[in-house]
């Protein structure tokens, strides 16, 4: 170990206002290795890497690149030091071509023509070398996310990065695309490049990293060799206590059909068909999981059933047809009919962040007799009810008067869940139940969903996390391009088959 680390961080600290995102962090990353950084949402992983890339400035601490102290005040300096970063939300100009995105900021002269010609050649070579085929003239907005990510990696390689940081790179990929990405990363490692991989997925860490560092609440708690640890061990280090990784549930006992959807179609305002004839059923006492890469119509399906988007086709709830457009098709009508909805984007649709917890608990139910006295709202009743709900759902801090934005992601989700589950629906729609939720809260939320099922409710679950779909669902339907590609039972399928369906390929004959 006489070799100097590719990257060394010494006592890095960074605060955003009162929030200490990074506390006194030191880290060594050895050259030619894949180093994983794992931690829950909000543990400070992305902040730390953004500091390394010069996107944020550290309050204190120093950075050494290849053993030499290297101040990185901006991204320019990071690029010069040979560091490249692929952000979780890509930093690409959507209506530019691949080529233009790659040269942006690394042009060789004031005029574009010679720069682009040279870059085209170099890009083709790079793409061949690393098996990353992309059409240099394609517009970014026409590319799949997997290809967009390749453009980001090519951008870094074009700038001759030796150290590549990837922030949650697999969140938007199908399993097959993720496998391809890992092959690329192994290829880069074989070339002697150093890779830092930020993720919250234990499986990825185990599969590809050499060393792994664990972050918890802004601090770097451990750095261990991947070969000397296990997923269970890492999960405990991340959360700081024992956690249950699998959902504990008995086989479903489905009863009568609650929801029946026939030939559902949605065309958006730009004339694009988002749903192309969806048929599905959900029965009482079962969880139907909808798998798929984000953007294949799952959100539109939830919107239609939740009453916030018009559609064509037929939807029956306990045998009675629901209207799909015009009056009587809004969220209020749905709620009355017995459908409640935990939306995918809780910040946009689930909560008003500046409102207090008790006010948020009342949304959609403000006209229930128990919250009203005459023409006025009975805020006291609502506040007490919220207080009780917070107790039952273990919302922390247990304070109905706190604004929604001051709760962590997991606790915000519990507030929404408490509101929608305790409305006693026949059908619960739930989108991305654990997005941005820490492991401890995931465990709790999963248990509540299973309990609701065992009470004989029908549940339609949409998630882009395949693990979550596999472990919660009693049946799995896979969506691709506005269609249901097929239905599988979780015990009789695997990630490979689901992954093929998610990519639009027919797996085994249905």
């Amino acid at each position: 170990m006489s070799e100097a680390p590719a990257i060394e961080l010494r006592r890095i600290s960074k605060a955003f206002g009162p929030v200490q995102a990074n506390k006194d962090i030191s880290l060594k990353v050895m050259p030619g290795t894949i180093h994983g950084i794992i931690g829950e949402n909000g543990a400070g992983k992305s902040t730390l890497m953004s500091i390394l890339y010069g996107f944020y400035k550290a309050d204190s601490g120093e950075i050494l690149v290849g053993g030499r102290e290297t101040p990185i005040p901006d991204s320019q300096a990071a690029i010069k030091a040979g560091i490249g970063m692929v952000f979780q939300h890509f930093k690409l100009v959507e209506n530019f071509s691949v080529l233009e995105n790659v040269v942006l900021g690394a042009e060789e002269g004031a005029f574009l023509r010679p720069t682009l010609a040279k870059a085209r050649k170099h890009l083709t070579e790079l793409a061949r070398e690393y098996e990353m085929n992309v059409d240099p003239d394609a517009k970014i907005e026409d590319l799949s996310v997997g290809h967009q990510q390749r453009v980001e990696i090519l951008k870094a390689l074009y700038r001759e990065a030796n150290i590549l940081i990837l922030d949650e790179p697999t969140g938007v990929l199908t399993p097959a695309e993720a496998d391809h990405l890992f092959r690329i990363l192994r290829g880069l490692k074989a070339e002697g490049k150093t890779i830092i991989l930020i993720t919250h997925k234990l499986r990825e860490i185990m599969e590809i990293t050499d060393t792994v560092s664990v972050m918890r609440r802004g601090e770097m708690t451990d750095t261990v060799k991947t070969s000397e640890t296990s997923p269970q061990d890492l999960a405990e280090r991340m959360v700081g206590r024992k956690v249950l990784l699998r959902v504990d549930k008995t086989p479903a006992q489905p009863k009568e059909t609650v929801l029946e959807v026939r030939n559902l179609g949605v065309t958006d305002s730009q004339g694009v068909q988002r749903l192309k004839g969806i048929d599905l059923q959900v029965r009482a006492g079962e969880i139907l999981g909808i798998a798929g890469v984000a953007g294949n119509g799952q959100s539109e399906l939830l919107d239609v059933l939740g009453g916030i988007r018009a559609a064509t086709g037929e939807v029956l709830l306990k045998g009675r047809p629901l209207s799909l457009s015009g009056p009587g098709s809004d969220a209020r009508a749905r709620r009355r009919a017995g459908i409640t909805h935990v939306p995918e984007d809780r910040h946009r649709l689930g909560l008003i962040l500046d409102f207090k917890a008790w006010e948020n608990t009342g949304f959609g139910y403000q006209d229930l007799p128990k919250y009203c006295s005459g023409l006025m709202m009975d805020n006291q009743a609502l506040r007490e009810d919220t207080d009780a709900k917070m107790g039952r759902f273990d919302v922390r801090p247990h304070d109905p008067n706190l604004a929604a934005k001051n709760f962590s992601g997991g606790n915000q989700q519990k507030i929404v869940l408490a509101r929608e589950i305790e409305a006693d629906p026949d059908l619960l729609l739930i989108g991305q139940p654990t997005r941005g939720v820490d492991i401890g809260a995931i465990e709790f939320i999963h248990q509540r969903i299973v309990e609701l099922r065992d009470e004989g409710k029908a549940i339609l679950l949409v998630s882009v996390e395949l693990d979550e779909i596999m472990s919660l669902s009693d049946r799995i339907a896979v969506m691709f391009d506005g269609r249901i590609m097929g239905e599988r039972l979780p015990g009789e399928t695997d990630e490979t088959e689901l992954g093929l369906l998610m990519a639009g390929m027919e797996g085994r004959a249905a």
Binding site: Q76, L92, N95, E107
Partner: protein
């Protein structure tokens, strides 16, 4: 209508389109970089005043142009400071600049010249004079081509020619140079520019200052080319019409030329035909003069199809959190 009338109308179309064209291209630079600018009007106005004032005081129209550009760029710098450095609301900053220009020009004009908010009439070297292009006189009597060349193409001030040359120049800068690539990128996704190691703030200031410079030309042309001196509120909404033309053109230089010529034509028609009869109904003169403004409303109401503005337009760049 005979050829002569047509030529007269087209001739005045070119002249009336020129200030719109400068202002429209000014807006194009700023908005392509993601800084919305409804202060084109104010910048034009202040440039018109300072051009006329400096030309009147020095007797040199070039000094006027210089002063006009400087004044307009000073306002552009204020807009940059408010919307880039202090991340303020770009619309409000633009409105403030318009008010500032309206008040300031009249106030200073009254103080300097005591002519009720005007500058003295400009004469001789204090105005831009028409240029006769080579061979115009010789070719004048050639049928059809002669009059077109002599009456329509020749005989404008230098600023008119500059305005029309600014279109290909803008196109070239925007789509064929490094600066243009970065400028378009910063209007679409400043995060991409920032992480590519280029200064978002620097680029946006650059764009805003170019906007100021071009507005300076627009204003100088108004008071020292098109007219002979400054009068109160002489920009008469042209900054807003240029903005409409910019949207109509979907933020593209060549389309901007077309849009500005269309507005110029309507303006020229309104001036030429004080009243017009269509199918027995006489349209009043007010209607003809209102034509460009009516078209502006129609365009802004979105009847021209979808115009997609630069995606990061109007938003100050703040790194996450």
């Amino acid at each position: 209508m005979d050829l002569n009338t047509v030529l007269l109308i087209l001739d005045s179309t070119l002249r009336l389109a020129t200030p719109l064209l400068f202002a429209c291209l000014a807006g194009l630079f700023s908005e392509r970089a993601g800084v919305f600018d409804i202060g084109l009007e104010g910048k034009m106005l202040i440039a018109a005043f300072f051009s006329a004032a400096a030309a009147s005081l020095t007797g040199n129209v070039w000094a006027g142009l210089l002063a006009g550009c400087a004044a307009s760029m000073a306002l552009a710098a204020i807009h940059g400071l408010a919307s880039i450095t202090f991340r303020g609301n770009q619309l409000i900053s633009g409105v403030a600049i318009n008010f500032l220009a309206t008040g300031l020009t009249v106030l200073i004009a009254q103080d300097w010249f005591q002519q009720g908010g005007r500058t003295p009439q400009l004469e001789g070297g204090a105005r831009f004079q028409p240029i006769t292009l080579p061979f115009a006189e010789t070719l004048r009597d050639v049928p059809v081509f002669g009059p077109i060349y002599y009456d329509l193409i020749s005989g404008h001030t230098i600023l008119v020619y500059l305005g029309f040359l600014a279109v290909p120049a803008t196109w070239y800068v925007l789509f064929r140079t490094r600066f243009g690539l970065r400028l378009r990128a910063v209007g679409e996704n400043p995060g991409a520019v920032d992480t590519a190691g280029v200064s978002v703030v620097g680029l946006r200031y650059g764009a805003v200052m170019i906007c100021g410079l071009l507005c300076g030309f627009a204003g100088a042309y108004l008071s020292t080319g098109l007219s002979a001196g400054f009068v109160k509120d002489m920009s008469a909404g042209r900054g807003f019409i240029a903005l409409a033309a910019l949207i109509f053109a979907k933020w593209r230089p060549w389309s901007a030329l077309g849009a500005c010529l269309l507005f110029g034509l309507l303006d020229a028609l309104g001036n030429r035909f004080q009243s017009i009869e269509i199918a027995g109904i006489a349209l009043p003169v007010q209607f003809m003069q209102a034509l460009p403004y009516i078209l502006t409303v129609v365009i802004l109401a979105g009847f021209v199809g979808k115009a997609i503005p630069p995606r990061a337009g109007g938003e100050p760049y703040v790194k996450e959190r």
